[in-house]
Every structure is written in C-alpha cells, then in structure tokens.
Symmetry: C2
C-alpha cells in the first residue's frame, strides 16, 4: 500500500511502515521503523522564578520512539496515521492527521495517553541549512548550531557567561541570563530551504538546531498541530508567516514627527525638558513619561507605582497640560503593565472582585517585583479581562494618552491558579498574547487604532495581530554584543522573520547595574541607529543619574537636533515601509537575504539590516570606532553621507558619530529624498 | 508463583510480575509493572577536555522503563529474571541474576541489546536517609539532595560558581569546577540504613540522591553487577567495604618522625632549607622534592620536566646526598606521573617501543598539560605497563627514593586509542586504578612495601588495594569552603567511607591563581590540622613566591617546631590507627557517627572528624578566628590544650593558632600520651 500526493509544494509518501514528506523536492520528514521521527515521553520539571528569571530543569523519566506507524485513511488531501511504541498491532498512542489547508501542510496530533507530557519531532536538515526566527532572538540571528529554549522571561543582564556583569547579575540576582533568554520566544522557525515550521503549543519548548542532519523540536505537551508552509522566495515566505499570525496595523502619522522623549519627574520637569529640546532644534513628536502614575525608589533604581491612573501629586495639571502639548503637536505617552501593586486602589478593586490569579491557599498570588509586591490580573477570567481593558480605556485612553509602554507579560508564575483551570505551566508562554489582546481591544473598541500606539517587549505566537509595536526590552547601557546596542539588530531581524515586523529599542539602552553606566558615545551611536527605524524613543534608564541623557550638553542636544531632522526627513519612506508591513508582512528592518537571496554571504550577517529594500544600515556597535567594515550585496549603492558610489563587496568606510554606515540604492525611487540628507 | 528467600540480611520476594528486595526489614528494591526500577536507553555524549577539566554533555535519545519481568530460575541462593520493555512475551532485553556471595547480594546483569549504552536503576530511599561515599567528595559529605557525576578529573579551581575565583578560572581556563568534581570518584555509596551499594562499571556515571523516595544510579553502560552489602553497625560496614576493595598497608615508621618538607630548587637549596628547619627545632622525616627530575616555568607557575629520572643539572650529587640524608634520618622523596614529556629520552624510548596510546591517525596521542605536551603510557599494553614499572624501579626506587607523589591519572582523553581495543570512554575512570597498580607492583616487587610510600590524588573503585596513601589534590591556598582548607575534611571522611582510609593534604594548599596567595594564617592553620593525620607534608605551591613557606620567619619556624613535636609525640597513637585501617579498614579520619551512631546530630557534621576513636578534631577553617564552635557527642572529653573537661554538647572554645579544637576521650587508653601534649 503506497500513497502519494503531490503538488508544487509538499509531497507526501506513505506505505505500511513508512512516511515521508518532501518540500520542494527535498525530504523534510522521514519515518521508518529504524529511524522514527517522533518521540514521546514523561518528564518532571522544576521551575524556580526569581523576578522574571527562570531556572528550569527537566528530568525526563521516559523517552520512547514511536517506531510503528499504521496508515488508516487516505484521501486526496488528508492522511491519517496511527503511531505506537511497541509493535504494529499494539494500541496506537498517537494519531496524526496530515492535511492541506490553503497551501499549508497541517499535521494534527491527537494524544491517546494523557500521562505523556514530553514530545519530540525531528525534521530533516542539511548541513548548509540556516535557521531563523523563534521570536525575538538577541544573541544569534542564524540559530543553527545551538538549541533555543522557548519560554518568555526576562532576557537577563549581560546574557554572556564570560562577562563579569553577567556573573555578578547571576550571583546577586540569578539574573545574568543566557543567549536564548528573551521576552518574546516563539515556536516557529524559518528554514533557508524556504519553508517555515510552526508548532502550535504554549508549553515550555526547546528547539534544537545543533544536529547536522535533523532539527529536533521539543515541547512539554503534545502539540495540537504542526504547520509547515513554504514559498518561492523569502518575501513571499514572510508574507505567509505574517498571514498566519496576523499583521500589525500602520503606526500613527505623528510618530514620524520626531523623537519620543522618554523623560520623568513630574509635569514641570518634563515640560522644561521639552522646552529645552525644542529650543535646541530637536524634533519631538511626544513625551513619554513612565512615572505619570507615580514612582518609587528601590535598590534597582527608579521604579513605578503600578497603580495605573494619573498621579496628580507627581504630575499636577497633567490633564490640562496634555491638551496644551497636543495643540503644539506633542503627544503624551504613559506606561502600564498587567500587574497591580498592593498599595493601590486598583489592587483593592481587583481583589474585591476576584480578578487576580490565586495561590495554593486560594488567596491573591503576590509576585515579588523587586522590593514590592503585585497581584496578577487573571486574563483567563473574562470579567477580569474586560475590567482591565476598562482600566486602559478610562485611565489611559480617555485621560488623553496617545500611547504607552505595555510592559511585562513574561512573569506569569507557574505555581499560581487561574480561574479557567488551565495549568499556569501551559499558560505562561501565552500570557503576552492575552496582554497584547487586552491592549489592542481597548484601543480598537475606543476607535483609536491608528492614532494610539502601545509597545510591548513580551510576545509569543499569535500576539502579532494584537501588538501595535515591539520594543527590544531592557538592554544594558553598554556596547556588549549580547546585551548592548548590537543585540537589538538580530532582535529586530528575528522578530521580523517571526511575523512581527515593527521593532525599535530604548535609545541608549536601559539597564545600569553592577557598574555599567551609559556614556555619551553609546547614546549617540544608538540614536544614529534608531533614526533608521520608524519609531525613535529615548529612555532615561533605570538609574537616570548613571546615564548620559539627551540634554547632557549642547553637543548632545545639537546631535539630537540634527539626527531627528534626518529622521523626520525620512518619514515618507519610513511610512511606506510600515505600510508594506501592514499590508504584506514584509518587516521594516529586513535581513539582507530578503532582497539578495542569491548572495551566499548575506545569510550570516546579523549586525546589518535593510531598512526597506532601498536602504542598508550597518550600525557601529563598538566603542571608539571612526571607521567600520560593511558588506554590500551586489547592487549599486550610494553612501548616505558622502554621496560616494559603491558596488557589492566589503568596504571599510568612515563612520564617525553622526554618520552611521548607511547606503541607499542608486536606482531607488526614493533616491532624491536620500540625496537630500546630505544637505540637511 | 512466589519466591522468597530470607536470612538475617537480605530478603528477596519475587512473583510473576513483581520483585522486591529488603534489607533489614526495609524494602530497597521494588519492581512492579507500573513502577519499574530499571530503565535502559541510548544516548550520545559530547566530551571536551581542557587540561583535565571535562565538559560532558549527554543527549539521551531513548529512555525506556523495563516494565515486564519474568522469573526464570529459582534456587536457594539464586534468582534469574528477564526484563523486557514491551510486554511479558517479547524478547527479554536484559537478564538479571541475583545471588548471595558470602553475605553480599550480587545482582549480575546481562545486556541482550548491545546498542543500549545508558542504564538507570532506582533504589528505594526514605526521607531521613543520609548518603555518604562516592569516593572523595570535597564539597559535601552527606550526598543527599544532590546528584554526583562520577568521572575522574581535575577538581577545579574554586569549585563554587558564586565565587569570583571560580568564575575567572572558568572563563580563562574552563577550570572552575563544581561541587562534584573530584580526582577520585567511585560508584559506591553508603546509606545510613547501614548498607552500601556498589555499581561495577567504569563508564561515566551519575548518582542522583535528590529524590525523597528513591536514589537513581545512572551509568553509561549496563553494569556487570551491582553489589549490596549490609552490616550491624558502621564499623562493620566500613570493614566490609574495605574487604571488597582491598585495604592499604601500614605506612612506614619513618613517616611519623616529623614533617615531610616539600621543597624545591636543587641539592644545595633544599639542603640549606633542611638545615634551617632542623636548627629551628623542626622535626623532619623527609625531604620531598618534586623537581628532582628537572623543572620548567609556565604561565601557571613552576612545573616539572616530566622525564622521570634524576636530573643531575638540577640536583648535583643527589645520588650521594640521598645516602647522607638517610644516615641522618632524613628520607628523600620524589615525583612521577603516568605521562612523558616529548622533550625527554624516556619519551623517545617509549615511542620507539610503541608504549603510548595513539591518536586517530595511529600516532602518539599528545596531551596538552599546559604549555607542554606529553604521551600517555598505554597501561592496557602489558609490555608498556611492565616497562613503566621498570622506570619506577630503576629510576626511583633503586636510585634511593623512599617515596613519591604518584600524580595525575585523571587525564585519559576519551578520543585516544588503546592497544587492547577498549574504548577510552570506558577506561577513563579505571585509569587511576592501573596507575596505582603500576606503582604498587613496582614497590612490592622490589620488596619495599612498608618502607616506600607513594601518594596519589586520583582514584576509582579498586585502587584501594594498590594505593599506599591518598592526598586531597590541589586545594586553593585559601579558606574557601569548596576548595580551601575546609574541603579536605569531607574529602577524608568520604574517602574513608569508600574504602580508602589513609588521607592527607598539602599543608598550606597548592593553587595560587587569579590573585589567591597563601598567607601565614592559612599555612599555620593547615599545619595545626595536619598534625592530626598520620602524614604531614608541606607543599610550596604552584607559585612558591606567592605563598608563605615554613621558613617565612622565626615565628613560623617556631610554630613548625612546636607542632611537629606534637605530631611525633602522637606517633604511637597514629600508628595504631593506621594499623587498624590496614587490618580492618577502619579509616584513620572518621565521621563522628562511626563511633556515636545513636547521636542524630552527628550525621551532617562534615568539618569535624574523629582521629581514631579517642580524639575529636574540629579544625578552624575560617580566617581571623580566636574561638571556634565545636559539637561533642555524648562522652567525657578532655580539651587537648587546656585539660578542661567537657561532656556532650555544643561549645565555643578558645582556638588560637597552635591550639586547634582537639579533644580526647577521658577514658582513652592513650590518655597519658594526650595529657603529655600540654607539657610539650
């Protein structure tokens, strides 16, 4: 008995004891009795969370290959197979339905043994294959050669076990992190064979791309389904990925009008900072004040009050001031997250109504956020979900905020109890999706989509259609590869390959700990890079006084004036990129292979990006550099600052502060706009 | 069908699908279909060695419970069972023969599937149970609550991931180590249920004592057998353990005559040091000169030439001088290890004769020992083994050495080729046994057993009968818990519970790296402890000029004079302890429960020991202490230095340098000897 179906995309072959699936002529799934591709098992995990940093250990007691297959049903577009562990006649332990769904190959799984809580699937690999995606990966863009645990968490401070800062963060706070830690993981990868694979599961996962001849995708549940989809080229592939997860709407026009100044300290202080900026010629589109709802001081640094409403003590007359600023073309942005500090009145209201997740004793589960405690809004409780949307609508949108940081989402403790009865271990990864959804619906239901923008750092598969903008989380205020300026480039690229095409980062980074302080060079280099993203926002950092700010001195202000002028000048181009992302899911910041797939040299480049198809950006991510090495794929390029022409190849170019290595295509339809930059 | 055998020790019950073994009325092995106790599997390891530090990762592809048992043979003292994975009728994958062998329960295993390379066995545990042994464990004496990978290696520098030294050692040399790293691991544990379990295997192992209700013993091969043996009390238990592995002979009388001065620098220099020591009243039994065969300087510090024969350039007239010293009652000791540096003539001889282990290309495998390279004598080649014994006989014993450090043994690389065809992965752990055997036979065959003593740091199950003395390896020259002075106490205790009852350590420690330097306090405190062991030997350290030495100043010399006087005074007592160890395997340094098993407080004490049954030692292992807290089990005790009487309990006692907290039993038959110490 042999079964074959074939179209231009996937081909399936099945016989009594064999199954094989090919994509584009290459085998990607291969099952025989001696080389099974599925394993099931049973494991016991231990999970320790300390302030969003998770120590997760697994103890796999059983891991059994599913050697025996039986093909049960064969239809044109559907195949049902049963797998068992012992022999062909024993009771099947897992059923698999493979079906075509508008070009996608969907592998549905049904688990007959509910004690099974570990699952492995092997997908065939080739030696030269590259792998991308898996959400927002900050250390490596090409994931080949490593495994990637997928669990939303704090990304860590330092994220590199060989650095002193990482070691100190580990020893003092268990917070050092490692290359795979991220706020936004996703069980979806993209192969250079031009297909993507998505595993529909929310449990802890670990995707292993270390092996030469197979990838092994591991989940702590039997996934509902595994989706495979391919394309002719990478542009089409990202279009399909974004179609699967949903696309982000366009950003409001006002975000292109200048920098969003991340400032704090109360109405008077931020107004003075704004005036100083404007007087210095800095183009400002908005003020972003995290502490609009109050602040507290902890040993970590300046923290917020976590009671999500205007704090008139901290910001007197803010209600009036917001309108005044808006008339002058300056928007006001705030901050919220899905937790409520015990000291606030919103906490009391939520607790009285039973809106919090509970602990073992049936009381409100309190999470330690670093010297203060918070309840966790239980988004599986639809009343709580609606109530929190109401908080956003009433206290943020109606109050006049045009946007906010929708922070956190990664901290769902695994030992709390949710109202819908789902285990927190299964829900943890999905939490950022629910958090995005709450924000999105609040904005949409008030008719503000396209005018209000919120930005998140946490994410997971499916949050793409809800999240209006991603930011790269809390980088260290330094030039370190794994946690500094450089890291946000692979972060943007991998997010883009995962269906989240709008990315930006805190200009200057955020985390000052264990001696790291933001110097002027870092702030200016980060600004130079941020100009070539559609959303330019500064952050004072967790310890503002340890960090150089935009108003440090005249030179810094002048630099901000000049670079925000470049940013606003490029707005027409930036808008088209954002529109392309909204329409077809082409990310705004793109890996070079998206447009130069014939060039074998571009597949491992992770510190350069295409800003749309016409601009190539190679940010200077090291200290004390005046020149920078750039790789240009074969094309005709113009250096943005000198107007000099380049063809493909490796070049060392001048790259002083204020002239980041940026090139545009000579034949771009936007070439006039780009040429004008030299005269700004 | 039910089968029962019972005697005072072990009881076995077996029926068609059940097996249970009890010891002393408590179940220790329990098999049912739903709760099997054996797992088999298949894994692929990656092993990276850097200068004796191993990074070992496992990837377990299959792990399957052996659910189905069939009892095949039943005899009075023998039971044969067959295990299979799938069902009771499928082909057995593992056969088990359980038999009594003079009080021991021997579980023989026969593996029918040669692809199996992973094995797990679960032994029932109880919550309050304590576990000891597993060779020489330097961080924890009671092993409960942790897992212990068993693989002979460098123990690491720092051995504590929370210390800066460990982090630096990790980052610079992959050499930081962890709590379980040891030169001498052993797959044998002792339970506070008064039985021991030994797994007869040499492959990589990992014994996991984390679970409340079972211990899981994991080996990277199916063990040949598992031995269980119990006893009425701990003294009898150590007697049985030492009977299993063999006991150490008594030490030569001359070792009790004073300190063995570890000095270097050539005949003239060491002679001057000896004269200085003797003139200062220091009792000296021997000179120990590592560099008798030459030295080299590397970035690590002073290293040796590794060509194991007298170097007359470094030590002119040593042949004559050895005799002169011996006439004065001063022995001479040297150094050897199982590697030969490429520069030496012994290397050439060995290579010409094919005595080295080979690399993949069939050439001599060269090991990087830190800026120099060596060949590995292939002890599986009997000619090479005999030749190396000959080197020891000719160049060490016949030359006049009365002992040596038989260093290393842990470095056998896993990718070399041995002449007998055994995989190096399987042979690695056994290498120290072969190395001990070579030394032992060389000494024995020259009739020098009891006169010549060699001391080793590496070990494994079975080396006990060959190794004349253990030393604790290369501690850091500091007071750190996991790698300093303190660590040699659990090291001695766990070795003693594993059948190696003679232990000592480098007085003052060895490793000065990353800023650690030996101060005077450390040297004196270490000496104060060493006096209460039967072998007192100093080491200059790897960086002698960063370390305070015995001849640092008059005060230090006077301290050495006084403490070596105490040491020699205690010689009659020490000799009886060493004799007891030789006769019945009672270790010289004993955990308190060996004599006070009724006291529940003593089972977790790892920084005190009994020096024989009459002396309790509680070394001061922290800096800047003048008093020290001591726990005394219920008895009548006399404080060695003050003569004050104590009964059982916790006390804070005066403990200045030179008066380490030491107590003797009031009713000891040696009490006069101990009382005399106060007047020394």
């Amino acid at each position: 008995m042999t079964y074959t179906t074939h179209d231009m995309e996937f081909s399936i072959q099945a016989s009594e004891d064999k199954l094989s699936i090919s994509w584009n002529g290459e085998s990607i799934i291969e099952h025989t009795k001696s080389n099974p591709f599925l394993y099931i098992g049973f494991g016991k995990e231990t999970v320790n969370m300390y302030r969003g940093n998770f120590e997760i250990k697994d103890y796999v007691e059983e891991r059994t290959p599913l050697r025996f297959i039986r093909i049960n049903e064969l239809e044109d577009n559907k195949l049902v197979a049963a797998f068992s562990t012992y022999n062909e006649n024993s009771l099947p332990i897992l059923y698999m339905t493979i079906r075509k769904d508008s070009g996608r190959l969907v592998i549905e799984l049904e688990n007959k043994d509910t004690t099974i809580n570990r699952f492995w699937i092997r997908i065939k690999a080739s030696k030269e294959e590259k792998i991308y995606g898996c959400g927002e990966q900050m250390s490596y863009f090409n994931l080949r050669g490593r495994n990637f645990p997928l669990w939303t968490s704090e990304p860590g401070v330092g994220r590199d076990k060989s650095t002193y800062v990482t070691w100190l963060a580990d020893v003092k706070d268990k917070a050092g992190g490692d290359y795979y830690n991220t706020n936004y993981p996703q069980p979806t990868y993209v192969s250079s064979k031009k297909y993507y694979a998505h595993v529909e599961a929310t449990a802890y996962a670990d995707f292993n791309f270390k092996n030469e001849d197979y990838h092994e995708l591991h989940t702590w549940e039997v996934p509902k389904e595994i989706v495979l989809e391919g394309a002719r080229d990478y542009l089409q592939l990202v279009e399909k990925i974004s179609a699967k997860f949903g696309r982000q709407p366009e950003l409001p026009d006002w975000v292109y009008e200048g920098v969003i100044l991340g400032v704090q300290g109360g109405t008077e202080v931020v107004d003075q900072k704004l005036i100083k900026a404007l007087e210095s010629g800095v183009k400002v589109s908005a003020l972003w004040c995290q502490d609009w709802q109050g602040k507290r001081i902890t040993s970590f640094g300046k923290r917020l009050m976590w009671n999500w409403k205007w704090n008139p003590d901290e910001y007197p007359d803010l209600d009036v001031k917001i309108k005044e600023w808006k008339e002058k073309g300056i928007r006001f942005m705030g901050y919220i997250n899905p937790y409520l500090a015990v000291e606030g009145d919103l906490f009391k209201e939520a607790e009285n109504n039973g809106y919090f997740a509970l602990n073992e004793e049936g009381n409100t589960y309190l999470v330690d956020f670093g010297e203060f405690y918070c309840g966790v809004i239980d988004f599986t409780n639809s009343e709580a979900f609606e109530w929190y949307k109401g908080v956003i609508k009433e206290h943020l949108i109606e109050f006049g905020l045009d946007g906010w940081m929708a922070d956190f989402g990664e901290y769902l403790p695994t030992d709390l109890y949710l109202s819908n009865g789902e285990p927190a271990m299964q829900k943890h990864n999905q939490w950022p999706v629910l958090w995005a959804q709450a924000n999105y619906e609040a904005v949409k239901e008030t008719g503000k989509l396209g005018e209000v923008v919120f930005f998140m750092r946490a994410g997971y598969a499916g949050f793409q259609k809800y999240c209006t903008l991603l930011w790269g989380g809390d980088q260290s205020v330094d030039f370190s590869l794994h946690d500094g300026l450089a890291s946000v480039i692979p972060a943007a690229l991998s997010s883009g390959m995962s269906g989240m095409g709008l990315h930006h980062s805190d200009i200057g980074g955020y985390t000052s700990l264990h001696g790291t302080k933001r110097n002027k060079e870092l702030l200016l280099r980060w600004l130079d890079m941020g100009v070539f993203t559609p959303f330019l926002r500064t952050h004072e950092g967790n310890r503002p006084y340890d960090c150089v700010q935009f108003d440090e001195d005249e030179e810094t202000l002048a630099h901000f004036a000049r670079m925000t002028t470049v940013f606003t000048h490029l707005a027409p181009y930036a808008k088209t990129l954002v529109a392309e992302n909204a329409k077809s899911g082409t990310p705004v910041q793109r890996p070079l292979f998206l447009h130069y797939e014939q060039d074998p040299n571009v597949y491992d480049i992770q510190y350069q990006y295409l800003y749309g198809k016409d601009v190539l950006v190679a940010p200077v991510h090291e200290e004390h550099q005046n020149t920078w090495e750039v790789y240009l794929p074969k094309d005709e390029w113009i250096h943005l600052w000198s107007g000099e022409e380049y063809s493909g190849g490796t070049y060392i170019v001048n790259a002083p502060i204020g002239e980041p290595p940026v090139f545009f295509r000579k034949n771009s339809e936007w070439k006039e706009l780009f040429h004008q930059v030299r005269s700004l």
